[in-house]
Symmetry: C2
Subunit: 329 residues, 2 copies
């Protein structure tokens, strides 16, 4: 099968196929390369319709359960829901979040919910780019909303979240300093705040704190008063209200210039993620597999080489145009 036929094949199977074909297409896209790029080009004109909902919050906030219930609520209203769960490449928190995936089972067995994890650490494409591209594919084939769940650690994750149409922060009462995993400032740029586990002690204090923050942040969003929603995701409580606020935010965006601005900001973030994937993550992963990275690092550690020399060496080996092509067809 030559390259061109292959892209058309992928395209057709995506449009006429089922979940298996979608899963395979996402794997293609995650891996990257010319076929993936062409497929994304073909899909591009079809996308841009879904509401992208970013959900972030510290571990322990119960956000996976909340995303699960939210998805089922949208499904009951006749929507098809895509979920992209970003497992952090951070060495600090991998385990806990992988555990969260298990708890998402209820929604994952539903025919109108498609869940994909952008998890593979060593993935050649970079997690951020994969996430953006997953959203593009799910959007193009008709999932709406597409919910992106992150733990809010690291710049690329925060970028993914903040350029969603509707960035939501999930908090919970009683999360101490030590488990506070979110970046500073994240709360201030959310469009919706949610206090989950709102049956725990400390809920009132947390709600009051969040409302103060929301009132302050709302001064920067004329026409949108940032709501604070209390939920108990495990019991489904407050989930319909949260869903309603999410849809209200979508209607609000439609009346403003913000939608256009967001598209532009998201484009910037995606372009950066593309460079990062192709010129940092991919060469490092390739060099690691070939055993070259360890050799270079040892030389740098032994002061036989500077890091700059090592960058040159990686460039020569993995970033020369001949090595990096594949666009001819």
């Amino acid at each position: 099968m030559d390259e061109k036929q292959s892209v058309t094949g992928w395209f057709d199977s995506l449009l006429t196929g089922g979940r298996r074909q979608l899963g395979e297409a996402l794997t293609l896209v995650e891996t990257g390369g010319p076929t993936a790029r062409k497929l994304l080009s073909r899909l591009s004109a079809m996308g841009g319709r879904a509401q992208i909902v970013g959900v972030t919050g510290p571990s322990g906030s119960g956000k996976s359960t909340l995303v699960n219930e939210l998805a089922l609520h949208f499904v009951s209203a006749g929507r098809r829901v895509g979920i992209v769960a970003v497992d952090p490449s951070s060495p600090f928190t991998g385990g806990a979040v992988l555990g969260d995936r298990v708890r998402m089972n209820r929604a994952s067995s539903h025919a109108d919910v498609f869940i994909r994890s952008a998890a593979t650490r060593g993935c050649l494409g970079g997690v951020a780019r994969a996430t953006h591209d997953f959203v593009r594919v799910l959007d193009a084939v008709g999932y709406d909303p597409v919910i992106v769940e992150t733990v809010g650690i690291g710049q690329s994750e925060v970028d993914i979240w903040r350029v969603a149409h509707t960035p939501v922060v999930v908090e919970a009462p009683g999360l101490g300093d030590a488990v506070q995993a979110m970046k500073a400032g994240v709360l201030e740029i959310a469009s919706i705040l949610c206090v989950n586990k709102a049956d725990l002690p400390g809920t009132d204090a947390k709600l009051m704190q969040m409302r103060d923050l929301a009132d302050e942040a709302s001064t920067h969003t004329p026409g949108w008063k940032i709501p604070v929603v209390a939920t108990v995701a495990q019991l489904g409580e407050g989930v319909p209200e949260l869903a309603e606020r999410i849809l209200a935010h979508w209607r609000y965006l439609g009346t403003t210039d913000r939608m256009r601005q967001l598209k532009y900001e998201r484009a910037m973030v995606e372009i950066r993620a593309g460079l990062q994937a192709e010129f940092v993550e991919a060469p490092l992963a390739k060099a690691a597999r070939a055993g070259i990275l360890a050799r270079l690092a040892t030389k740098v550690a032994d002061q036989e080489m500077t890091p700059g020399d090592a960058t040159r060496a990686l460039e020569a080996e993995f970033l020369r145009p001949t090595d990096n092509s594949g666009d001819e067809t």
Copy 2:
């Protein structure tokens, strides 16, 4: 002046010159390019002797004042101290940290303290690479210790901090959830914990909390019991003890394999920072200056182009070998 002569000129003026020459060399290194790379190569064999102390902590912890007092303490013991202050490229916290710089004045006027801020946002080289290279230069010309101060936000910042020989976390009593700016897990990989502003209410509770964390984390550092030091930096209280712990950690590292392992880990982090600087930050900055980035982002936002196409375009314009050379001499 041809290229070769220039590198030798830089090298000689660094070794025989004073603070002005050092400042100019750091600016050269920050800008990047072939001369900077060659200068770093020349300096490479001379470095690797200084203890690199990483100091991180949320804003409000008073870490800049602490770094200031710490530097003066080391100076009084006959050392020359380098300080590299990393102003975050994060959009969230820039302002507050720039304010901190002002408070570092006491040390900055001392002849045996050299302070440099890795601050320039649009800098072509990338802040992380600049920071690593600043440390290399200061180390090579005899500053020891070199203290790197970060606010602990973003992966590249945490990377800088954690590959220091001695990563120190500064906390303070009464810092609430909302100002908690550090990444999860940072506390767990510190070699020394410090509770600054230890004259404020809540100090005992904070110390107890830190000691619990330190005890738990110490199980992973056989031979090193992670100390918790209480300081009141503004009054100089506890600073000699903190300095002693820092030196004790240096002696401890000398007795273990950890030193070698750290060199390797730091090499990995520096290689990544080099790719990031050269293939992400530099082309984005160049494209922004040329007005090309905004045009590409608009096309992506308008769905006339995919992010992948934009990456290709940036590659063609800014990452072709002809554009990227300068190594011939």
